[in-house]
């Protein structure tokens, strides 16, 4: 049944509009711009034609079968009436994007319950209300215009907040910053909730990473059971909002529900092997690392830097986040010794090598040697935004080494000139996880190692 939301053969948009800028127009336009190849039925009592599609007066007037109905109606009352019509028509999946339901309290709650009752009686699955639906190559139902083609990537982002999901989707698609497959928002989750989606994407081939944002947990026991199964197969990155008392108050006014106890949510994450993110940036950054990098076998890291001080700072951070900086083997240090005036250590300080043979040559020799060392499971590469770095990035020297070695790497960009730094981060960021600070990079890598170690234990 969940397939109907993501791979419908026909879709009706109730509350469709011919006026650019209106929500009901954006949704139809988004579907039009996606790869959706099935029948599109805009529904509006007053229009004749929108973007070349014939408009119908009501759902029941549509001649063929309708797999999915998307609604963006101005009042909850009209939405309830539409759900009733959908039941008559035999529709089995509805996305309700309109707000004004349980999150408002009072009457809104009553309207939401009416929807739930009709849906239950008629075996209809409902996503929303108060959500922005789905952004994918196959179909886009978001209320934000998605101007570029959505990638056919390996990451899904699911979340409770409609606008946030829509905003993140446009950011990710526009900037090509994450290889997503779908962004899905489920708002008030009157029916379809995180457990349905987690289970669905857990079983979906081609989805390698699931990122999830929740403000309320619908059924924690179910979540624990499902997440344990899914996280054993693929990483589930989890941001839980409303965890503290301050956050809980905010959640109450936001989604009309009380947040779960922070410690219990954290315990559930530990128990299931979900990876906790602390903010939206991490939700995205961790997904980036997990979706582009292989899993390390352990937590032994090589730090490659051009400045000793940075190496010191990273070493401290690594210790704080459970990463080890082992010595390189004598074979490696022997190979590298001509490049260095001082003994080769870890952090590997490339400064002397760079002064002797230049940046590009150093990258091509020293970096892979240290990275390949059998004592090393992963690497942190620290770069600066200078002209020579940009050259190396554009020649794809780093990207190629990373691919050849086959171990996970994260890149931190901490100093330099914006004119180079921005280009480097954008360009390299399409292929590798690049971080604007040491701590964000170290934290992300530590999560990757943690998951890699856990997975090894599970398969042992």
């Amino acid at each position: 049944m969940m397939e109907l939301f993501f791979k419908p053969k026909s879709v009706a948009v109730v509350g469709a509009s011919g006026t650019p800028g209106k929500l009901g127009y954006v949704i139809v336009k988004n579907i039009f711009d996606s790869d959706f190849a099935g029948n599109v039925y805009p529904v509006n009592p007053k229009s004749e034609e929108i973007l070349g599609y014939k408009v119908y007066r009501s759902v029941t007037e549509i001649p063929g079968e309708v797999d999915l109905v998307v609604t963006a109606l101005p009042t909850p009352k009209m939405t309830v009436a539409t759900v009733q019509e959908c039941a008559q028509k035999g529709v089995k999946a509805i996305i309700i994007e309109s707000a004004g339901f349980a999150e408002m309290g009072g009457e809104g709650k009553v309207f939401q319950q009416q929807i739930v009752d009709i849906a239950k009686k008629n075996d209809i699955r409902v996503m929303g209300p108060n959500c922005s639906g789905i952004v994918s190559r196959d179909i886009v139902t978001s209320i934000y215009p998605i101007r570029k083609k959505v990638p056919r990537g390996n990451v899904v982002l699911i979340g409770q907040s409609g606008l946030l999901a829509a905003g993140m989707a446009s950011d990710i698609v526009e900037n090509e910053s994450l290889n997503i497959s779908k962004v899905c928002s489920f708002g008030n989750k009157c029916d379809v909730n995180e457990n349905d989606l987690l289970e669905y994407f857990g079983n979906e081939d081609g989805i390698d990473v699931i990122s999830m944002y929740l403000e309320t947990i619908s059924d924690g026991r179910g979540l624990t059971r499902i997440a344990k199964k899914v996280a054993a197969k693929k990483p589930v990155i989890f941001l839980s909002g409303g965890r503290t008392e301050a956050g809980a108050r905010a959640a109450m006014s936001h989604t009309g529900s009380i947040a779960s106890n922070a410690r219990i949510v954290e315990a559930a994450a530990r128990q299931t092997g979900m990876i906790m993110a602390d903010d939206f940036t991490e939700l995205k950054e961790f997904a980036k690392v997990f979706s582009t990098q292989p899993l390390p076998k352990g937590n032994r890291v090589a730090v490659i830097t051009l400045a000793g001080s940075v190496g010191v700072n990273v070493s401290d951070l690594c210790a704080n986040y459970g990463l080890e900086l082992p010595k390189l083997t004598s074979e490696t240090t022997e190979k590298l010794k001509d490049m260095f005036d001082t003994p080769v250590g870890n952090p590997v300080d490339l400064y002397f090598s760079v002064t002797k043979i230049g940046f590009t040559k150093t990258l091509e020799t020293t970096f892979p040697n240290a990275f390949q060392d059998p004592n090393i499971d992963a690497a942190i590469l620290i770069l600066a935004g200078f002209e020579y770095t940009q050259e190396a990035v554009q020649k794809k020297i780093i990207q190629k080494i990373v691919q050849d070695v086959g171990k996970p790497v994260i890149v931190c960009m901490i100093v330099g000139y914006n004119k180079y730094k921005n280009i480097i981060m954008d360009e390299m960021g399409k292929e590798l996880p690049v971080f604007p600070s040491l701590i964000s990079g170290v934290k992300a890598l530590s999560k990757l190692c943690e998951y890699g170690i856990r997975k090894q234990k599970l398969s042992a």
Partner: protein, 231 residues
Amino acid sequence: MALNEILARAKKEQRAVLTEIEAKQILTGIGINCTDTRLAASKTEAVELSETIGYPVVLKISSVDITHKSDAGGVKVNLKNRDEVEQAFDLIMESAAAKFPDANIEGVSVQAMAKPGIEIIMGMIKDASFGPVVMFGLGGVLVEVLKDVAFRIVPIDKNDAVEMIEEIKGKKLLEGYRGQDPVDIACLQDMLVKLSDFVDQTPGIEEIDMNPVFAYKDGAAVVDARIILYQ
């Protein structure tokens, strides 16, 4: 007394809180070691039980109406002979009568003075969304001030129990800090799994508190226990 009988009796009496003796009977029934605790309705019985159990003993007020026994002056520890037991019995009764004149008092519980061990807390609470959740931590000040505890959602397996104990910051105390004997961690893991299995299979329990549990080189003993039923 069997679990069902205890639960039925509490239900009949419309009680949410079980007595310490009832709680320990239930826990003993599921294979968790508790200090031998028995009810004495009179002073004579208190002495007889003390002799059977062996000195030193602890006397605690036993009343479904008094949850905070120490506050009621209802706990006397380290009683070494008949005289001390008799005196303690009188003091407890007087104090309870003065502080809780309306309380229905069934007597005192008599239990062996447990030999000191590392203080542990173990328990279960019910979360609105996650259902039963088990907890493990270091007891006493460490739980009150540092909240050094770990939670897991029921049901837990052996591996979860291992991780819970690994997770607390004070685990070094369990591993034998400064030449002390390490405690029997396997026993604590086993207790957690038993607790989880029990609450998973027994509906109607709202909270369980085992505080303190004394952990030893060999085994562990629940020194005080509370069970609250769902009303």
